[in-house]
Symmetry: C2
Subunit: 367 residues, 2 copies
């Protein structure tokens, strides 16, 4: 007997969960959260048609899903006005980010992201031996020029940029993003994570350009469509880049009922619009609650509001802890100076009532 | 604009789907199959309790599943008499095989499998730059001694062995497998794929030994539990090996409703026993149909029967084509001499009626 021979890279990697789930925290505290406002899930739930489609598909779960995900790709292609060959479906944006990193990152390939942006992307970069370079946020938003300058400087193979941004809720206009796309350094791929784009003002997303091999757009059914637990994300890009995913992906990765659900959800655009309206209203109320408690909500075009607590990361962390102890699951940005904030997902009236009730006591407890 | 810089490995890899799905074939022929007996799915369907659990969980799909899959791991740990730390859950055995290859295979690491065994394993080996060495089948079964000898000879980091075997349906007893486990060369990990073990005679699986870091056992809800479309597999192994999966896996990979379904399926062991009985009866009937048509069914302890057509691979391939043209989806082994056979999954009476009706005409067509 002798230990397995892990790769050098895997030996060096930490065994972590990039985002600790609320269930882990619930097990630790021995009680469920009363309000689940920490993971930017859609408390408003998926379209009833999507739920019904999943329920109708449940008896068919004995069959594998189509490994080509053809029907969903065709529906998405029609929805976005691109070809089936321009779409790859995967287990959430998380899964697709892993595939993209695997395709582009060899030992020491350079990658640029914002400092404090998506930890799961960084997890995949480390997992495929990429060398991560970060650029600070500028005025609580990602900095397109700073990111591009860094990409040029380090000769990056991959750039990650989220628009709208998580965890800050800020966004750039389509013009700014188009300018960024036009200036991606030669040989780099810009991964534009648009998980929250359905919540943003119309026209936030620049036009899709499926001829450009240096940009890939990532979308998801986890946020506005309210299907985080289904694990269905997709990417839109040039046919060559999209085809390369077939070299590395787990072709039998997708849940059959989830595919049926997303097909129904995509058709129910009226429901999506209602959700966007409800989220907009919820953002307003979260802002009001924050201000009533002397905190400063940041502008947001997403399904969450990031709230400046006016002090340092330790203070915000203590506040998150007090909220969790009161049964309200929220999260916060990971790095300074954004970690002066807490992040609260949009919720129904009853969820925000619980948030409003817990916040004054939580603030009092850390005064 | 300049092409993305793929890794050298990815540049070399073919963009393939290791198993073409029946849906692709249905699209090509412009009609659905009348009998789906090619993918070793369970036409008998999942437990009604599992289906009900997935339907009940559908409205909750707005929530991510627990990234630690704690409840399912706990239930599996209790079921198998091991610890939670000895189990990792993933998107089918396919997904777990990918993770295992990623952990153990660097450039040129040697891997041993049987010639004509699981193509998806080979896909992952290629995808992580492993060097594949194959050992022929012996009497239509995998050859434990041959595989171990090759592993010793090439100083393998990873060995793949399925018991019972797919695509041949053969198996080795627990004693033979225990002997194989005891003789795994130092520094190698034996991946024992037991996807079909629930169908095999009691005692086919050697005892679990969670102290041994050189063996990992893979199980699935796709076969006997009838939940292929759910994408839930798991591996059982030493705590250190299992923990290493956290370094590389997509933590938010699992479908929330699928987890609820597998929990219910695991509890419904009575249903599982009924399925095993139905599959046993179906195997008998497939054998009878084969013999009535002058073909020779091989012994099987799985949910399929591999049928020796008595001629070469071209003949069996032509027969598969004729069956597909008659609306009966079946498959066949990929390499000689096993490709003299066709492979037919267990089905309900009505499925096997279609098989029985199509076979004589298909044979006549290629006479």
């Amino acid at each position: 007997m002798k230990a397995p021979r892990y790769t050098d890279l895997v030996t060096r990697l930490p065994a972590i969960v990039p985002f600790v789930g609320p269930e882990t925290q619930e097990r630790a505290r021995g009680a469920k959260f009363a309000a689940r406002l920490g993971a930017n899930e859609s408390v408003f739930a998926a379209s009833p048609k999507a739920i019904a489609a999943m329920q109708a598909a449940a008896p068919d779960i004995w069959m594998y899903a189509d490994p080509e995900n053809y029907d969903l790709k065709q529906a998405l292609a029609a929805h976005h006005g691109v070809g089936v060959e321009n779409i790859v479906v995967g287990a959430g944006i998380d899964g697709l980010l892993g595939g993209l990193c695997r395709m582009l990152l060899g030992d020491g390939a350079r990658v640029v992201t914002s400092h404090g942006a998506y930890p799961t992307f960084n997890f995949h970069v480390a997992g495929y031996a990429g060398q991560l370079h970060t650029v600070p946020y500028l005025h609580d938003a990602e900095d397109p020029k700073g990111v591009l300058d860094m990409a040029e400087k380090v000769d990056a193979s991959l750039i990650y940029f989220a628009n709208p941004d998580n965890p800050m809720g800020s966004f750039h206009t389509a013009d700014v993003m188009q300018n960024m796309i036009d200036n991606v350094p030669a040989g780099a791929v810009l991964c534009l994570d648009e998980a929250y784009v359905e919540f943003a003002p119309k026209g936030t997303a620049p036009l899709l350009d499926i001829e450009n091999p240096n940009i890939i757009r990532m979308r998801t059914f986890s946020k506005a469509y309210g299907m985080a637990g289904a694990r269905v994300g997709y990417a839109i890009g040039a046919a060559g880049l999209i085809a390369a995913f077939d070299k590395v992906r787990n072709h039998y990765e997708m849940n059959r009922a989830a595919i049926a659900g997303t097909l129904a959800a995509l058709e129910d655009q009226g429901y999506l619009e209602q959700i966007v309206q409800k989220v907009t209203a919820a953002r307003g109320r979260i802002g009001d609650i924050a201000r009533e408690n002397g905190l400063s909500p940041l502008p947001s075009v997403t399904n969450f509001v990031t709230i400046d607590c006016g002090r340092d990361g330790d203070y915000a962390k203590a506040l998150v802890g007090e909220m969790l102890a009161r049964g309200v699951f929220i999260r916060m940005p990971f790095v300074a100076p954004q970690n002066r904030c807490i992040r609260v997902s949009a919720g129904r009236s009853q969820d925000l009532d619980l948030f409003a009730a817990a916040l004054p006591a939580a603030l009092e407890a850390i005064k």
